[in-house]
Symmetry: C2
Subunit: 102 residues, 2 copies
């Protein structure tokens, strides 16, 4: 899953977090995150190519917004692992104690 690698980067998670409440221009994010503008733009490019964000032009500004798709993908990837915290508490320990898995 590519989304995981994209969101692994801390700066990118801060951007995504900032975009959660409202969409923002590049300079908004620059002043919000205290990073250089090229750095922000590069991260936005990565996020854009992964489909995490989309941009629309408004005057000379580019307004970036979150897209739900990749987060749904991540949710879907996580899905099989949810059985872990159902299984874990009661069943697994007894299961191991009886040892019935060849």
């Amino acid at each position: 899953m590519d989304v995981l690698e994209v969101l692994a980067e801390p700066a990118r998670r801060r951007i995504v977090d900032a975009l959660l409440t409202r969409e923002a221009s590049v300079s908004d994010l620059v002043s919000a995150l205290g990073m250089s503008q090229p750095a922000i733009s590069k991260h936005l490019r990565v996020l854009r190519e992964a489909g995490v964000v989309t941009a629309r032009a408004q005057a000379q500004q580019r307004i970036y917004r979150l897209e739900p798709g990749p987060f749904r993908e991540l949710d879907a990837w996580l899905s099989p692992y949810r059985k872990l915290w159902n299984l874990h508490l009661d069943a697994l320990e007894e299961h191991l104690r009886q040892g019935e898995e060849p």
Copy 2:
């Protein structure tokens, strides 16, 4: 969130995926993933320090098992973003109901 960075690595995701169905020893994973044993051990170390897996000793073997905690964390981190695909559907619905095209 540290878990994201740990699970961003493809080889580590393959390990985690292999451990989803059943626990496994190091050599099991070596033959399953076709990587060198030291490489597997290093990934397991990273996963262990992140709390994604735990190991128990059985003879000379170390049996590795998934732990639910980090996956719950990931699920919790993802939670605020779930509103995205609710908002998306709401906006779409209203947009369809108004049926406007400039």
